[in-house]
């Protein structure tokens, strides 16, 4: 089923607590790519890195604009794709140089 069935006050991004209402408002204002919506609402920038909400946002954009999945650009992805500890990056050099583990 499309997103029409989901009434307002439905959370779409649970990591950043963004509701479908907020997403729809942004789309109405003309922000119609996942990247724009991500930057304005933080939807998809939490722990799971958009794993859950990504498709839901695509569906919302599709439903509001009548565009098909193939015509909606995907958002940009950057490492890390998995939650890692900050210390990992801080220690990155040292660890990576001698860091061949098993």
């Amino acid at each position: 089923m499309g997103p029409e069935g989901s009434k307002p006050k439905t959370v779409i991004c649970r990591c950043e607590d963004v509701t479908v209402e907020e997403i729809r408002k942004l789309i109405e204002k003309g922000y119609q790519t996942p990247d724009e919506i991500k930057r304005l609402s933080r939807c998809g920038m939490g722990q799971c890195q958009g794993r859950t909400c990504r498709n839901l946002v695509l569906q919302e954009i599709g439903a509001a604009t009548g565009r098909e999945g193939k015509d909606i650009p995907m958002s940009t992805f950057r490492p890390p794709t998995k939650p890692v500890k900050l210390g990992l990056y801080a220690r990155a050099r040292a660890e990576h140089e001698g860091g061949d583990d098993r």
Partner: protein, 538 residues
């Protein structure tokens, strides 16, 4: 820093077979998987797999995962479990760098490493699609994968009464597993007007009496701090809920099985070109015949290349492994060329029949788009069509025949043939392609029942009409164990009770691998009707 010939990310069937194959052709291979258990999706599957014997069909999923790991280790693959790849970068000399990270059980800390490989095979599988509705964030709403982890891996019952959303193979199989775990399934709802998965899998849950509500969806979940209720409604042609058709189910669990999408993150970071192909799960990486993506040296295999099945994942893994080894100048060219062609032919076979046709075309489009050829017909863009059931209900065995005979109720062209290989008499023929319907040579059938427990679809029964009363034998996989002499409620293919019957035999051997063959006596007129029994309450 470690330098390998080939790095494989993902230890599901695709990754493991890719690694094993590349290593068998002389490449130095490192495989990482973030899970501690090998096998990917397979590690959570307790049902007997469909597919062909070559793909270990008829074996239970987790056992396939273990077998594949053993093969990889034997081939000399450096397998690193519990290691997630969180980033991948192009190296300076055309190679790849993969950053991995994982918990360290010994120290309680975590360790990071950076691997370098001349070729990279990404086999990260697919992730579950969400479905948003009011209340879907309440505890008790969970994906089918989570349910499987709880039930099949940790043996924890997720709830007492569940609603299943989605009738694809995943929804059907997980419904069956919930029932086996002792969870009541109030209903299975499906938004489309037809069942998405294979009818043989639907048959198992129907026989257990679970209603499959087509053209309906879950509108809302509610409850005090956790799910207590689910509201289900009918959908009109435009997918809008029909006012006044709402129905409430008292359930504490709502299981979502509404499809999978390829897990593309690492590929996108590396800049692969993608296409949007719904028949394969949405955005998929473009790749050539050898499964190489638009980034030279970067290969894909399995569900990440398009959501299909374990048997396809195994074959694609083999292909990617061979191609990667070949591109490094390993292995024998002629032998590799021949082997690759054979894999391609088997993949065609697996993508035959009405279920596979859309995927086969979609796959061709995926390949052609990369090479600049025009896309194929738009039919490929549509999802897989399921054929309507052409049930020949009430087929009744053979009156007067001196022994039992197999009755095969498998009416869809699916890529499956364990029944054919199981029959010691050669009485069942599927042949090639593997999607052919099974044909029974009634005169050759001795009624031994080996096909009945081998069939992962539980679509084969034995009917004996030689005696004063008839007997029906059906496969059974629930606890408590069936008892000889016990009177049970016999049910038809839809799980509707048809009356009392006595269990005259209940056989389970090592060979039947935890499936019982249960025989009940029934009046002759019911021999074509009875297909199972209600599960006695403990």
């Amino acid at each position: 820093m470690t330098m390998a010939d080939v790095i494989v990310i993902g230890g599901g069937p695709a990754g493991l077979s890719a690694a094993t194959t590349a290593a068998a052709h002389g490449a130095r291979v490192i495989l990482v998987d973030e899970q501690a258990i090998p096998g990917g999706q397979l590690s959570k599957q307790i049902h007997k797999f469909f597919g062909s014997r070559e793909h270990l069909a008829g074996t239970r999923g987790f056992a396939i995962g273990r077998r594949l790991l053993e093969d990889a280790l034997a081939a000399g693959v450096d397998v690193r479990l519990g290691r997630a790849a969180y980033a991948a970068y192009p190296g300076t000399g055309g190679e790849f760098e993969v950053a991995v990270y994982g918990g360290d059980a010994a120290t309680g800390g975590s360790r990071a490493a950076r691997l370098r490989g001349r070729r990279l095979i990404v086999a990260t599988g697919a992730s579950e699609n969400p479905l948003a509705f009011p209340g879907w964030t309440l505890p008790g709403v969970m994906g089918a994968g989570a349910v499987q982890t709880l039930v099949n891996v940790h043996r924890v019952r997720p709830g007492r009464r569940a609603l299943m959303v989605g009738s694809g193979n995943v929804g059907l199989i997980v419904t069956y597993q919930l029932l086996q775990a002792g969870v009541d399934v109030a209903a299975l709802v499906e938004a489309m007007p037809r069942i998405g998965g294979y009818l043989v899998h639907a048959g198992k849950v129907r026989r257990a009496g679970v209603p499959i509500l087509l053209g309906q969806t879950v509108l809302e979940a509610s409850g005090d701090g956790r799910v207590e209720r689910a509201v289900v409604a009918r959908l009109d042609e435009r997918g809008q809920a029909v006012l006044g058709s709402e129905r409430s189910f008292d359930v504490d669990t709502i299981c979502l099985a509404v499809g999978l999408s390829p897990w593309l993150e690492l590929l996108l970071i590396l800049g692969v070109r993608t296409a949007y192909i719904p028949a394969l799960g949405g955005h998929v990486p473009l790749h050539d015949r050898d499964l190489q993506t638009s980034v030279p040296g970067l290969y894909v295999a399995g569900d990440v290349a398009g959501v299909e099945e374990a048997s396809v994942a195994l074959e694609e893994g083999r292909l990617a492994g061979m191609a990667a080894a070949e591109s490094l100048g390993r292995g024998d060219r002629v032998a590799l060329a021949r082997a690759k062609l054979e894999v391609a032919a088997r993949l065609d076979g697996l993508r035959g029949g009405p279920f596979g046709a859309a995927r086969r075309e979609a796959k061709a489009r995926q390949v052609n788009e990369l090479s600049g050829a025009p896309p194929l017909s738009p039919a490929a863009a549509a999802g897989p069509e399921s054929v309507p059931a052409s049930r020949a209900d009430g087929r009744a065995g053979i009156p007067g025949r001196p022994r039992p005979v197999a009755v095969i109720e498998c009416y869809q062209q699916i890529p499956c043939n364990p029944c054919e290989t199981a029959c010691p008499r050669g009485a069942i023929t599927i042949g090639s392609p593997i999607t052919n319907l099974p044909k029974l040579d009634v005169d050759a059938c001795t009624g031994c029942g080996l096909c009945l427990t081998a069939c992962p679809g539980q679509a084969i029964f034995l009917v004996d009409r030689s005696g004063e009363t008839a007997t029906v034998t059906f496969p059974y996989e629930y606890l408590p164990a069936p008892e000889v002499g016990r009177r049970v409620t016999a049910v038809d293919a839809e799980g509707r009770p048809v009356g009392e019957a006595a269990v005259t035999s209940a056989r389970m051997t090592r060979k039947t691998n935890r499936t019982w063959a249960v025989t009940v006596t029934v009046p002759h007129a019911y021999a074509g009707v009875v297909r199972g029994m209600l599960r006695p309450r403990r």
